[in-house]
Symmetry: C2
Subunit: 335 residues, 2 copies
Amino acid sequence: MTDTGKREVTRSDVAKHARVSTAVVSYVVNNGPRPVAKATRERVLASMETLGYRPNAAARALRLQRATAVGLVVPDVSNTYFGALAQAVSNRAFDAGYALLLGDSDNDIDREAAQIDSLVGRQVDGLIVVSLDPSTTMAVGRTPTVYLDRRAAADQAVILPDNYGGAQMAVEHLLQHGRKRIGHLAGPEGGPGADERLKGWEDTVRSAGQTEALSFVERAEFTRNGGYEAGRRLLKNPDRAPDALFVSSDVQALGLLRAAREANVRVPEDLAVISFDGTEDAAYSDPPLSAIEQPIEEIAAAALAAVLADPFIPVHERVGVSLVTRASCGCHSYA
Amino acid sequence: MTDTGKREVTRSDVAKHARVSTAVVSYVVNNGPRPVAKATRERVLASMETLGYRPNAAARALRLQRATAVGLVVPDVSNTYFGALAQAVSNRAFDAGYALLLGDSDNDIDREAAQIDSLVGRQVDGLIVVSLDPSTTMAVGRTPTVYLDRRAAADQAVILPDNYGGAQMAVEHLLQHGRKRIGHLAGPEGGPGADERLKGWEDTVRSAGQTEALSFVERAEFTRNGGYEAGRRLLKNPDRAPDALFVSSDVQALGLLRAAREANVRVPEDLAVISFDGTEDAAYSDPPLSAIEQPIEEIAAAALAAVLADPFIPVHERVGVSLVTRASCGCHSYA
DNA sequence: CTGTTAGCGCTTTCAA
DNA sequence: TTGAAAGCGCTAACAG
């Protein structure tokens, strides 16, 4: 509380005030590695309180060679999915005593590289990255890093949702609804999860014998506007349009829904829709979106655990996804 | 690129390799404060490259007493508005050479205090906080801090949108549409912007003589579900319901829209709606939301500038907001 | 149980 | 134009 004066109060001020050595202050602050007599500890605690002592994280980081912080790099925090991911990571990291350094790559591959470089230089103890282009190998040096996209190298850690299985699940569900022309609004080539979802859709549609449907595919950025534009292209020709769509993200689906409204295409009557992600965006759209839901908390927990594990083990993990049905696929009527 | 071996490579490795002193390496890295002969500089640069040198940010922070990082604390990054704010701050900070430490307070006042404390201890050069409860005074010590909510103390820096004016604008616009019972879906008491927006609505409605409308007010959290629940309460009684609503955030409006759909209340025909924030959420809802738009980029820029100004000057700034009309107020038809 | 002290990697003053 | 060296605040090995 007390907080006046020129310099920040350091551990030696506290030591002087409590009439102990700086080592003891350190032992008290860190609860170890040596025990401290109860009376002494209390005196130190009291001094810390009166002086308004706050440990200097930079000094600690320098000494320990670790910042007690983790870095997270995402393409776009304002995307609800990445926002929710950032929130989950931030909260878990904080509870574990780590700070979160956030890097937004702004959907730019060079920026992504620069962000990673900056975070590594800041001695983060771990790095979680949703990369725009997995084929690029960033220099992360010795920093334990886990990717939440598709990586190639065997020594890289990866945690991924079951993109392929989720796509399959979505398409199969649409088939059960009797849809005959199931198209796909895909993510950008190489984009996180995009290609696996595309493959899952393609294989499933193909093995259902819907070869005609294979032409109903459009790529778009993971944005509302991307989904809107792609949706317009997909629905342009009323005589030759899909009767169902698997959309590779919630935000894109929001855009598609707008395109459908403008084109007087009714969802789900004329066009059944299932998206991927299953964030709150899906639950509150009109109609509410059936979606393949990613277990964000689980992903965040696994990523953090992997990256902070000692010794670091390059995990290669798949997390399950689930289909949550709402109105957009035709399962539930609403309003 | 080269990056093998036990220890990270330090400036003295580079110095040895380039056969110069560590001081010179420092001058090269920082472009000063002393000049370096061209030949020498190039030799150093080459050594840095071959050794894969990366400056240690912790050491630098310790020496300089500043981390070259800024902290941002928000109640909930997964809220599109805060997500967009985080993105804007992150990108601007990065461009200025600063890292962003993100703290999500998870709508919890104690957590907020803990996050602030942690960031201050990490020697951030500045702190931007969207506080849940402005009446609490956090110990930010000497760290330049700017609040994006309503603060009391004169020596605290504040940057705010024109909440009152925006509310007034929204209500006046609804009045122009001939609405007679303009209610308000408000934010939580003390919540960022909430009370000023409420006041702006109240005063404007009152001076329009709509005393009956003053009872159409419900408070809710800044979440979709909060807006949904409050919307249900507001629309519960068809015989005595508002014919227009000023909603204190986009996310709440998304919830309200769902409540309206479920209650068969048509927007804008039966209920005209204008929300506050004007994020992408507003543009892609059904119907698209007319909204009082906050200039997020401007706020981010001003906050960063204030906090990194030297010497720190406790700014007290209002930024203007603007009404963007879409379908929900009745201005534009769509689909 | 507690004190002394070296040293983490960096910047910058002072000297050459 | 370059080198030597002090010291930022902290931890932990070592000595008592």
